[in-house]
Symmetry: none
Subunit: 200 residues, 4 copies
């Protein structure tokens, strides 16, 4: 029964990753114990090791999965939108509409992962790969906008794109400190305005 078993295992892996995300997001990587994850999921410590080889393995696979999902989901939404501007605006909108409590936790998780991975060659490479996907996602839009004439030809899409993500991350980081939703929304809006002023 390989098919059933494999599907089951895949599902279970996903469930464990969900639980792990909850823990990592609220307590951090080092602050999360395998026991925490097991308890969160109502399973045994040993069960986790049936699906993952180590705590770090869970952490890495979790990030990989989330990045892939994010990129795929954006791509899907972009497909239905008519113009580069519309796509970009959609991206901003999505940041704003994100449930904020989620945001806090996820930001924490992503930032912590970035820092953690910056001390480890292998994870660094993984992050580079994933980051490139995110870059491509937006850079394509800018390029499209330039081609169609929506955006100025002079802007460098690599730089703008990088700035886009950098600012998004920076705002999220600030939200992490301040915790004020109004301000977060205001900054995203401000960034949007500044970016469009620059692009057109």
């Amino acid at each position: 029964m390989p098919k059933v078993t494999e599907a089951y295992k895949e599902k279970k892996r996903g469930v464990i990753l969900e639980g792990a995300l909850d823990c990592f997001a609220s307590k951090g990587y080092q602050g999360t114990t395998i026991d925490d994850i097991a308890q969160e999921l109502g399973i045994s410590k040993g069960a986790i090791y049936t699906y993952f080889t180590s705590k770090e393995d869970i952490y890495i696979q979790l990030m990989e999965k989330r990045m892939n999902q994010m990129v795929k989901s954006f791509h899907k939404s972009f497909a239905h939108l008519p113009s580069a501007s519309a796509k970009l605006k959609y991206a901003f909108q999505r940041f704003i509409e994100q449930p904020l409590e989620d945001l806090r936790r996820l930001v924490r998780f992503h930032l912590e992962f970035t820092i953690h991975s910056s001390r480890n060659e292998e994870m660094q490479a993984l992050m580079d790969r994933n980051f490139q996907k995110a870059i491509d996602l937006i850079a394509e839009i800018i390029a499209e906008g330039k081609q169609v004439g929506e955006f100025r030809k002079e802007v460098d899409e690599q730089t703008v794109t990088s700035l886009f993500w950098a600012t998004r991350d920076g705002i999220a980081l600030q939200y992490l400190s301040s915790g004020e939703k109004e301000q977060f929304t205001g900054l995203i809006k401000g960034m949007e305005e500044m970016l469009f002023r620059y692009l057109v």
Copy 2:
């Protein structure tokens, strides 16, 4: 001779904080052991506990000190500069001229601290206080620029200032991942351009 003693203690505290920064920056908070710090400084574990009550105490005081120094140093430099634009440009320049290996380590330290503190009420408050100082530092310039007519009256200095720092942090974060100096400089320059386009 209480005066001498107090001065001595203050100096020693500073020395310990220096050593601790080296450790925290390269190995992270959790990755740094008290032994690491002691070894780095060539003193004993016990000595550290004479000056600080806990590992977290060191971490907090270290951040406090660095923030104060940074703000004070900027203030001092700003005093000699003629206009709001000049001041803002100076700030950008300073980011670019920062020794990059330092930057990597320090960014790591600051980001990690931010995340760490976001899980702890008391540290959160400390960070808020410190962040406010950084905000004021730049917001005053924007306000000055608006008053003098260098910048548009419509810009909201709080928002712009927050964006300024957010983007700076975001760029630093990205640099942490990519490690490419060219790109880092390019992004800072891009951000500068975008900001001035927005302000004037």
Copy 3:
């Protein structure tokens, strides 16, 4: 069809014991996991527990089987030999001709078992029973040799026999450390010479 089933089970038990021997011999008792044995055999962990009640059960039955086989095999060979001296010489020859890599692994297995069993009453008893068989095997030859006049009447067959096995084990143990075949063979020869000098 109980007969078929029983035969099948018996055969399977034997197969599992073979695989277990490979594992125990190369990784030791504690170093061998049930998973190792299962993998070695290409079966599941559960299957092993159908035939044996525990890891120790496998260990014990394996030793029991090997001892019985060894004694039976010697007995068979002895039957064709004309004199006590010839039998004894055959025994020495067999030690020497044993494939040495096998020897290393098997010695390890046997010694480890002996030590392991010395901490457990039940296993101790088993080992005593088995050891007695080995003793009888040789003691009979000595007795035969004394009766026929090949060996001196004064020698005590129990003592000589025990010494015979003890020396064999000691040499094997030494070979375990040194790993030099020449030396191993030399020692067996030396022991043979010493023993015959004593017996005749």
Copy 4:
């Protein structure tokens, strides 16, 4: 206060090794937990790690120490004895007079160590070095005996010496199984007789 501290540490190291020997001898290497050793000594787990880097480190240093002590002690005793025969007889006598309960435990420890080390290159090398010391100890006596004319010139001292230790170990191993003191003594005596018959 380096001198005091170093002496203190050395002493403590010795104390821990004593306690560890008790544990290893009665429960085996794998069967002994660090907690066992700590409890045996009435100290904390952590304290042990102040003096040793790992469980294996304890095990190795313990063996090293015991071997050195044994060789040194024999050498000292041999110095007062007039002839090669006397020295050899003394060695046998010492085996016999050894407190038997000790013997059981120590034999177990030594044999287990030998097996354990046979699966580890580094430990193997250590054992080789130690074994060589034991070999030299006896080989010198045999050589001396040959020179003085006490022993036959034809005997090969390396072989005889190896056999000497091999048999000693084999007898000890058997004693481990049987646990009968009479028999142990008998075997040692038998071995002595056989050896002298061979040497003279």
